[in-house]
Symmetry: C2
Subunit: 230 residues, 2 copies
Amino acid sequence: MDKPSQNLVETIYSDLRLRLQRSEVSPSDRLVDTEIADSYGISRMPAREALLRLVSEGYLIGTTRGFAVRELSLADISGLFEVRRQLEPRAAASAARDMTPDVEAALTDAISRIEQTLSDGNIPGLLAANVDFRNTWLRAVTNPHMAVTISRFMDYFQSVRLGTFADPAVASRYIDGLSAIHRAFLAHDPLAVHDRMTLFMFAAEEAYLSVRRRQLEEAEAIHPIRRRRK
Amino acid sequence: MDKPSQNLVETIYSDLRLRLQRSEVSPSDRLVDTEIADSYGISRMPAREALLRLVSEGYLIGTTRGFAVRELSLADISGLFEVRRQLEPRAAASAARDMTPDVEAALTDAISRIEQTLSDGNIPGLLAANVDFRNTWLRAVTNPHMAVTISRFMDYFQSVRLGTFADPAVASRYIDGLSAIHRAFLAHDPLAVHDRMTLFMFAAEEAYLSVRRRQLEEAEAIHPIRRRRK
DNA sequence: TGGCACAAATCCGTATACTGATTCTCGCGA
DNA sequence: TCGCGAGAATCAGTATACGGATTTGTGCCA
C-alpha cells in the first residue's frame, strides 16, 4: 500500500503496520517510542510520529505506559461490519468486472495456500495467505479511495483474528465462503461476487462476534483496562 | 467530533480541521509549521504533528514548501462519491430510524438557515448551515465508525465547495433534494430517506464534477503542480 | 504479614537545535 | 532584455533535552 520510501517515519510506520496486520503484536504488549527508536538506531521523534499516526488511524490506543493495540468491543465489531457490508460487496463486484489474468492467478494461488495451511494447522501461514487473498482482489479495485478505506477496516480485525479458525465448523464455513467468492471472481460475474461477498460478510461478523465474546468472557475480571489520561 | 482537550496537537489539529471545513484555506495557501507555532506561541513540534496528521488523513499534501490543501482530481471526485453512495444512504436511513425530537428540530433549523442564506446570497453562511445540517443527522447515526468515515469523506469536498452554488439551477436542485431528505427524516421513513439520499448523492456528484471541471479549465496551463519529493 | 508512604523509574508531551535539500533572489554577462 | 549561476532563504526531517504526570518499587512500621 505504501512505498518503502527513504523517510524514517514512513519506514517505521509500514513496518509497524505490517506487524499489526500479521497479528505479531498482542494487546498486552506495549509499544514504546524509545524502544522502537533504539531498535532502529534512530531518535525518538520518527518512532513517536509513526506511533501517533497509528493512533490517529485507530489501530493503536495511547495508554499512560506506552501504546497498545486497540481491542475491539462487540459494538465495535458490529459497527465496523456495518460499514464493511456496505463497501466490500460493491468493491469486490467492481474488481470482478475489471480483473486481469494475473490477478486471477494470484487469487487462485492464495486460495490454494489457504486450503493448504488450514489442513496443516499452520495458523500464521493461514493468516498470511488470507491477507494475500484480500490484498489481491483489492488490487483490482480501481478506486483507490475505496480500496484504502476497505483495507483499513479489514486491518482493524487483526487483533481478533488469531482464534477465529480454532473451531473446525467455523473454519469450514469460512473456506466455503471464500472459495465461492473465488469461483465467482474467475467467472467474471460481478453480481455473483456481490452476493457471495454479502453472505461472507454476515458469516464473518458472526464468527468474529463469537470469538470476541469468548475472549471477553475468559478475560473477565482480570484486566482493569487503562486508558489515556485526559 | 473531537473534544478540545488540553493537549496542543489536538488543539491545533481541530482548529486547522475547522478552518478546512469552512474552506478558509485556499489551495494556493501554504501552511507552515513554524508560522502556526508562532501564532499559537508554541514550538514547532505540535504544529508539525497536527499537520502530519492532516496529511495522513488526506486533507493536506506535503510540498517542498509548506503544506497545502489537497485538490481533488475528477477521478478523485468520482471515486469518493462511489464510497459516499454506499455509505450515506444507509447511514441516513439508520439515523431516520433512531432520530430524536431535538435532532429533528436542529435539522429543521439548519434547513431554514440554508434557505435563508441562499436567498440572501450569503455564501459563507450557506456553507456553515450546510455543514450544520450534515453534522446534525450524523449525530443521530449510532455507529461511530460509520459516522467518522462519512464525515471524513464529506470533508474532502470542502476545497471544491465554494463555487457550487453560483449556478442558480444547481442551487435550486440542491435545495430541493435537501428538503426532500429533510421531509423524509421528519416522517421517520428510513426507506424514503435512503432513496432521497441516493438521488442526492448522484446529483451532488454531478454538481461537483461540473464545478471542478470548470475550475480545472480556468486554471489550465497556469499551475505547474508541485508534489513532495520522494 | 500487610498496609502505607516516599523515592525511583518510566514514558509522554513539548521545546530547542542542527542538517540537508529545494527554492528563491539578485546580480553579472551575453 | 534575457538567460544563467552562485549565494541566501526557507522549510522538512531528525536529534537531543527537559519537565511533569503516572506507575512501580522499596523499606518502614504496626
